[in-house]
């Protein structure tokens, strides 16, 4: 091999290494664009582009949170159902699922809810159990699908998208999710939604982002309420669960005037809440933790539910 050839090959290898290194850093750290800043960039690529709401829950950190441990100790859960689910599917919710991404229907009627879960799944066991219970296996675009038996109700489908990644939903929804990833026409193409995801995704272990106008339209609100609501385009809700719960509700109005109207309405509701809560200091503390903020088209309401307040829940449940 001549020296010239060695130089050429070293140059090629350098380009390859630099590119792979950049991609690897972007994959693990995020950055470069809003989408990759989201820790679930890969999962979002399975969410169809017309989804109205995306939600995320870091199941692992919520399960391990102090709050959950306290609640578990105070209110022993019904472990039997969980064990039965594990025996049926081989999935231990406590340990096997790391996080889930859920997407709710868009405007098309055939679109349903979709859940994409990341974790450790025994594909062989899942397939064997499904077959035993009358499930049907199918291959779609190179992915294995398991259809639940059609008992007259809604038929559910589970798809093995990648190693450690499954999708659950109706057959049409799951197939649309696979198509979205294959065609690169997923929700990641929606830059407004991805900007919101990138903003709230890094600081919370549960969040939801969606188009408020689409949801309000589907919710079929009474005309009197719908006509008085200021036009809001996007909403985002994020929460961090550990000892207590802290979170933010955020709305993006269509224009500055609508946002101002919404701020005034929320401000009025908070004032009314403070007046009502004067008799109960604990509820008063909760109301006081609500902070209204935002400028321009943005309205944000942050809150904190302290661990002490949450510790009262088991006692209240027992009383009832």
């Amino acid at each position: 091999m001549t020296k010239k050839t060695r130089y050429f090959m070293a140059g090629s290898a350098a380009v390859l290494t630099a590119g792979l290194g950049t991609g690897l850093v972007a994959y693990f750290v995020g950055g470069f664009t809003p989408v990759s800043a989201a820790p679930i960039a890969n999962e979002l690529r399975y969410v169809p582009a017309d989804s109205a709401v995306i939600a995320y829950a870091d199941v692992r950190s919520i399960m391990d949170s102090d709050l959950r441990q306290q609640l578990k100790a105070a209110m022993p859960m019904h472990e039997k159902g969980q064990e039965e689910f594990q025996a049926q599917t081989g999935i231990d919710i406590e340990k096997d699922i790391d996080y889930v991404v859920a997407a709710a229907a868009g405007p098309t009627p055939e679109a349903g809810g979709l859940v994409v879960a990341r974790g450790r799944f025994n594909n062989t066991q899942l397939e064997a159990l499904a077959t035993q219970h009358g499930g049907r296996l199918e291959e779609y675009q190179g992915k294995r699908l398991i259809h639940s038996p059609d008992n007259g109700g809604q038929q559910m489908t589970l798809a093995f998208l990648e190693a450690g990644l499954v999708a659950i939903g109706t057959k049409a929804t799951v197939q649309r999710a696979i198509d979205a990833q294959m065609s690169s026409r997923s929700v990641t193409g929606n830059s407004e939604m991805m900007d919101l995801v990138a903003e709230i995704g890094n600081s919370s272990n549960a969040w939801a982002v969606g188009r408020f106008d689409t949801i309000a339209q589907q919710a079929k609100l009474p005309a009197e309420i719908a006509s008085r609501m200021p036009p809001v385009k996007w909403f985002a809700a994020s929460g961090h669960v550990n000892g207590g719960i802290s979170g933010t509700l955020r709305a993006e109005a269509n224009d500055d005037a609508s946002a101002e109207l919404l701020r005034r309405q929320v401000s009025g509701a908070l004032a009314f809440g403070e007046m009502v809560a004067k008799s109960d200091p604990k509820v008063g503390a909760l109301i006081n933790s609500l902070q209204l903020s935002g400028s321009g088209k943005t309205v944000a309401l942050s809150f904190t539910v302290p661990a002490e307040l949450l510790a009262m829940i088991p006692a209240a449940v027992e009383r009832h």
């Binding site: 001549t2 050839t5 050429f8 380009v15 390859l16 950049t22 470069f32 990759s36 193409g189 830059s191």
Partner: protein, 288 residues
């Protein structure tokens, strides 16, 4: 009394693998700096130049990826989707099979044409090792030219309305399947080059005639193509950019990953072994 000096024992002939590697080492430079490489550089630099041009236009503010209707800006196309289309159109359907034909068919044919095959065949090495060594040289040359080109396109195109990190797994799949494609097509055309006269014509008919036709018809004919198994591994949607690709899309079957990998491995192993066997047995008559 003079005793005759005992003859020095001949060193043992190198093994098949050692011979192949030696031939590879000898052939790489010859292959890389040939006129054929200019053609290869032209082919692989086209998508890079297009990516650069698109990037420049977007940088100058051309609304290539977005459209605004009634004051609402929506994303019409994303960088990852364009990258996927480029992988299909430039690399998978054209660059990989064409490089396979041009290099694969010439592995032995060039030596015959240049009348230098005698020098290789008179060495104490298996004739099959000559072909395998030259095949390895082809693989190194093409992989080191094609994959950096893909990498540059990825870095230029994907960040536009997309994410480098989000598309990283697809990039790894793309690089692997292109390397796999070069290996398998190279093996098929190495056999054609070793066995037939006018191998280039047969190779071009195979990739632009047989493969395209077989994929466009329903039935089992597509099982006898490389593209059927290779295209099943592509992580991007197949673009419907022509009538033929639309028809192929209609009758497209996607075998599972295991089936595809097994299919490609079987094709590669059979054709490379048979090519080496043909070279071992064939008498190449050099024209005077």
């Amino acid at each position: 009394m003079n005793h005759p000096t005992p003859a020095r024992p001949l060193p043992p002939a190198p093994s098949f693998v050692a011979s192949s590697l030696r031939i590879m080492d000898l052939s790489i430079s010859e292959m890389l700096w040939s006129r054929r490489t200019v053609f290869m550089l032209l082919i692989v630099s086209a998508p890079v130049l297009i990516a650069l041009f698109v990037r420049l236009l977007v940088g100058l503010g051309a609304p290539l990826f977005e459209e605004t209707r009634n004051g609402v800006t929506t994303v019409r196309m994303t960088g990852p989707a364009i990258f996927g289309m480029m992988i299909w159109i430039f690399y998978l359907r054209f660059t990989v099979p064409v490089l396979g034909v041009f290099y694969g068919t010439s592995l032995i044919a060039d030596e015959v044409e240049d009348k230098t095959i005698t020098y290789l065949f008179t060495r104490p090495i298996a004739k099959g090792a000559v072909l395998v060594g030259k095949y390895l040289a082809y693989l190194v040359c093409t992989v080191f030219v094609v994959l950096p080109s893909v990498m540059l396109v990825y870095l230029l195109i994907v960040p536009m309305q997309g994410s480098l990190g989000g598309s990283f797994l697809d990039l790894l799949k793309d690089l692997s399947l292109l390397a796999l494609g070069l290996a398998v097509y190279g093996a098929v055309f190495a056999f054609i080059g070793a066995k037939f006269k006018r191998p280039l014509l047969i190779g071009l008919i195979f990739i632009f005639g047989w493969e395209q036709a077989a994929l466009a018809f329903p039935g089992y004919l597509k099982y006898y193509t490389v593209a059927y198994y290779l295209q099943a591994l592509v992580p991007h949607a197949m673009p419907n950019d022509s009538t033929l690709s639309m028809i192929q899309g209609i009758f497209r079957q996607t075998p599972g990953m295991a089936t595809s990998l097994l299919g490609l491995f079987v094709i590669w192993a059979i054709f490379l072994s048979v090519a080496a066997w043909v070279v071992e047995r064939r008498e190449y008559v050099l024209e005077q």
